[in-house]
């Protein structure tokens, strides 16, 4: 699981510092102007310029002056209740039965010998639930209104004092209520499936003669080894992503429940910067030539360093055990050297003003695994105002909760690679069940967005066409980043038209388009550029469902940050508002009996 720096912005950082609010306003403005222009052109063709302008202005005025204030909660509730009854009486809950069957036979197709069974089970249930609920939302929302229009039932609705706002709200709330009910049922069953699938017990066997070490019995395709300390307590080694507490009770050695597989670590992330070989602030780390630019590197035995700045880190966030932090640093070797010994590095903790610095804590890189470390709160060796001192972490270093962590590579001509998410502090973990619920809240938000788009499309398209349109939103929502990547990397010689021409010419995309006609080539480039800009704009206008897909957080045992969830909630509210306004204008201007 890779986290990007934007994922650990706080909600207010995202909203104000990173200008989400400003972009939101701009988007609203652009959509409003675009909507007005399109409406005006249509009205112009029908009524002429003056009357057309009046009609469009009246329509907009009615939304704010008449229809929003006149919206009745009882009418919205009536339409929502109807949607729920319709869904239930048309046997929507069969989805739950399908899910039950799927997880009943999950053992047949899930790898029970997987290295991290909890991760596999959680990913499976969350992903499966996610797709099922999205498909449910898709069908519920796209067919209802067109079906009412086709069967003319809409005649008896819109001839009552029902406003377009109520039609949209009622349907969205109704379908959301049905989806929520289904999600609750699926979520409860998923939780039981995961917990029952993961929880297991071992017995201590093969105990050594001195009674302080041994092995556990084999359960669920694994066993552990353990060593007890002088107090008779210990922890097993980690296998399949978990450990067990082992303790001596009387003459008997008892193996406790598993720990570490169903957890919600609370990482505290910081912002990262680099210094170069000269020790000065650099724009970025070094690139060692990999295609992937996720990790940036620092050179060993030089002034290169990676510096994280942490904020709002307080003593309350940690247990008595000390300041725990995790690292997932990678190494890049320019010479093989001693291949058995990992590349070494060091960590220092220092105050923002640099007055207090700890002595370096050396480490050896543990590739492809989480290196879990901790330091005590007090008695840290270091210097205070350039004088040797025993430091108190929260008193001397993390003043006001702010401090820096500096990592350097110790080995000459070797490199350490890292990204912002590769060093974080582990606060007191949250309950797994709450993280699980937050994962389902993410699914719920995706479902609401799909329902909003489904209802919006159904206000002006027939059922099957609305399905295709909403499905396109879902597909682009999940795979829109491909479009982004294509557009970012595409130059005008490999645009859609140029590519089409290259096929019969058997011309590779790496070469310049050569048709022997420069004006034609220029024209193709202009058209391609235009198409790419259109596609890019379109990809921005649709929701990034991939960003809302947070199953990895739950599966990898990382607490889903409140800030991230709040952002998703805000994005969902934004799409709700946007689709609501578009639906309003379509419903208001649509002839229901045409």
């Amino acid at each position: 699981m890779r986290l990007s720096p934007d994922q650990f912005w706080t909600y207010f950082e995202w909203l104000f510092v990173h200008s989400a609010l400003l972009y939101g306003f701009l988007l609203v403005l652009v959509l409003a102007v675009l909507g007005f222009l399109i409406g005006f052109v249509v009205a112009l063709l029908k009524h002429g310029p003056a009357e057309g302008f009046l009609q469009v202005s009246k329509l907009i005025g009615e939304l704010f002056v008449v229809d929003i204030p006149g919206t009745s909660i009882r009418r919205v509730g009536a339409i929502a209740r109807l949607a729920v009854k319709e869904a239930i009486r048309k046997k929507v809950l069969v989805v739950v039965a399908v899910f039950v069957i799927a997880i009943m036979f999950a053992g047949w197709y899930l790898d029970q010998q997987a290295q991290f069974p909890a991760r596999l089970y959680i990913s499976f249930v969350l992903t499966f639930t996610n797709y099922m609920v999205l498909v449910l939302g898709l069908f519920l929302s796209c067919f209802s209104l067109p079906s009412d229009i086709k069967s003319k039932i809409i005649y008896t609705i819109v001839t009552k004092p029902v406003r377009p706002t109520e039609l949209f709200l009622g349907r969205v709330l109704g379908f959301t209520a049905v989806g929520t009910l289904v999600l609750l049922l699926l979520g409860s069953m998923s939780y039981l499936f995961v917990v029952r699938g993961v929880i297991h017990e071992h017995e201590a066997i093969e105990i050594s003669a001195d009674g302080v070490s041994g092995k556990t019995s084999r359960q669920q395709f694994h066993s552990h080894e353990f060593v007890l300390d002088e107090t008779g307590n210990g922890i097993t080694n980690e296998t399949k992503g978990h450990k067990h507490v082992v303790s001596k009770v009387g003459d008997k050695i008892v193996v406790g429940p598993s720990i570490g597989d169903l957890e919600a670590r609370v990482p505290i992330y910081g912002m990262m910067r680099f210094t170069g070989r000269d020790g000065q602030v650099a724009n970025d780390g070094l690139n060692v030539g990999y295609m992937s630019e996720y990790h940036k590197y620092i050179e060993g035995d030089s002034l290169c360093s990676a510096i994280w700045t942490f904020k709002n880190v307080t003593r309350d966030s940690f247990s008595e055990g000390g300041l725990t932090y995790d690292m997932t640093i990678s190494a890049f070797r320019t010479y093989k050297g001693d291949i058995v010994t990992p590349v070494g590095g060091e960590v220092r903790f220092r105050s923002i003003d640099g007055s207090a610095v700890t002595e370096p804590f050396p480490f050896k890189v543990k590739e492809f695994q989480v290196d879990q470390r901790s330091i005590p709160f007090t008695g840290l060796k270091g210097s205070l105002n350039e004088q040797p001192a025993d430091l108190d972490f929260f008193k001397d270093i993390a003043k006001n909760g702010e401090f820096e962590v500096v990592i350097r590579c110790q080995d000459r001509n070797q490199y350490l690679g890292m990204a912002a998410g590769d060093l974080y502090f582990r606060a007191e973990p949250q309950a797994f069940w709450w993280n699980f619920i937050k994962g389902y809240i993410s699914i719920w938000l995706q479902m609401v967005i799909v329902i909003c788009f489904g209802v919006m499309f159904s206000t002006f398209l027939s059922g099957p066409v609305a399905i295709i349109a909403t499905l396109s939103v879902i597909v682009l929502g999940f795979f829109g980043f491909f479009v982004d990547d294509i557009i970012k990397n595409a130059d005008s010689d490999v645009g859609p038209v140029a590519s089409l021409i290259r096929i019969p010419l058997q011309s590779g995309s790496g070469t310049q388009l050569d048709l022997g006609n420069i004006p034609l080539e220029r024209a193709i480039r202009v058209v391609d550029k235009g198409i790419l800009i259109c596609v890019q704009t379109l990809s921005k206008a649709i929701p990034n469902l991939n960003e809302l897909h947070t199953a990895d957080f739950v599966a990898y045992g990382v607490n889903l940050f409140g800030g991230l969830l709040s952002r998703h909630l805000t994005v969902c509210a934004g799409y709700f508002l946007m689709t609501g306004i578009i639906s309003y204008f379509f419903l208001k201007t649509r002839e229901m009996a045409a």
Partner: protein, 308 residues
């Protein structure tokens, strides 16, 4: 059971503008295809008024523009030309629907609901509180005689029962103005009679009714005024009794005349010893009138030169 007879409503002043419930001014509708090309001119410059307290009939053969007129009045369609006003408000104004009841030609209702749920749902759409909804639901179920079927889903209803629940939903808000599109379609003779009695009772309660029907006898029985449409044009508009009167024929009803008098009736009326009971014009039937208008309209397009 009340006897089905049409009667005029003398309490209503036809000159008072506040008594006009529906008014159409030069109302026209052209249906166009996807590309904006003209498909059919469904309604041409319709000017009619429906006055408070009357039963107004809208007649015409299939495709004459009756349904289009109703849909324009209800805001289900937007006019191509002219305007329609209901209660003095534009027909597209949702607020007017507070005072309107509409029974469509087919009962377009949710088949998965039962009668109680249906009425409760439509009651909610009028923002009625729960106690009022319960009371109205009970009254209407009694009125349309669906007590025994109140908990059955509408998909199990016969056509007649569906019409009844359709009428009940149209009355849920105690509307001042009721639009009934083919209200007797699908009803048996007894049901038809009950429906006509109900329409007359509603008129007596002060409601205004716009009735659109192919059942000419029904229209003749209950309507005060009618408008006859053909090919989207208004052909005739006036009071039913005036329209049905044969103006150029005199009809004499007499009794106690002797044979001689009978033989010389044409000369003797003035000096007859018999008692003159009635002297008026005979009336035709609505069906005859309707067919005459349609025949004439096909030969000579445009508005006929009569009316009340």
């Amino acid at each position: 059971m009340a006897t089905t007879t049409a009667s005029t409503n003398p309490s209503v002043s036809v000159t008072d503008p506040t008594n006009v419930i529906v008014e159409t001014r030069n109302l026209g509708k052209i249906y166009r295809d996807f590309w904006g090309r003209k498909k059919v001119n469904a309604l041409k410059s319709l000017d009619i008024e429906v006055r408070r307290g009357e039963i107004f009939g809208l007649l015409g053969p299939n495709g004459s523009g009756k349904s289009t007129t109703i849909k324009l009045m209800l805001g289900l369609l937007f006019p191509t030309s002219g305007r329609a006003f209901v209660f003095g408000k534009d027909a597209t104004d949702v607020a007017k629907n507070e005072r309107i009841g509409y029974l469509p030609e087919e009962s377009y209702l949710y088949k998965f609901l039962n009668a109680e749920e249906t009425l409760d749902f439509y009651g909610r759409l009028f923002d009625m509180p729960a106690s009022v909804r319960r009371e109205r639901t009970e009254q209407l179920i009694q009125m349309v005689g669906l007590q025994r079927a109140r908990r059955r889903q509408l998909k199990e209803y016969s056509k007649g029962m569906t019409r009844r629940i359709g009428l009940a939903q149209a009355l849920i808000n105690e509307p001042e103005f009721l639009v009934l599109d083919e209200p007797t379609t699908g009803l048996d003779p007894i049901g038809t009679r009950e429906m006509k009695d109900l329409i007359l009772r509603l008129r007596e309660q002060g409601k205004t009714i716009l009735l659109c029907s192919h059942q000419l006898a029904d229209v003749q029985d209950v309507c005060d005024r009618v408008a006859i449409l053909h090919q989207g044009e208004l052909k005739e508009l006036g009071r039913v009794d005036s329209l049905l009167k044969v103006q150029d024929v005199t009809q004499i009803h007499a009794k106690g005349l002797d044979e001689k008098t009978k033989l010389e009736i044409k000369e003797l009326i003035a000096r007859s010893t018999g008692e003159m009971l009635r002297m008026d014009n005979p009336t035709t039937t609505m069906e005859e009138l309707f067919l005459d208008i349609v025949r004439e309209s096909e030969q000579r397009p445009g508005r006929r030169g009569s009316g009340a």
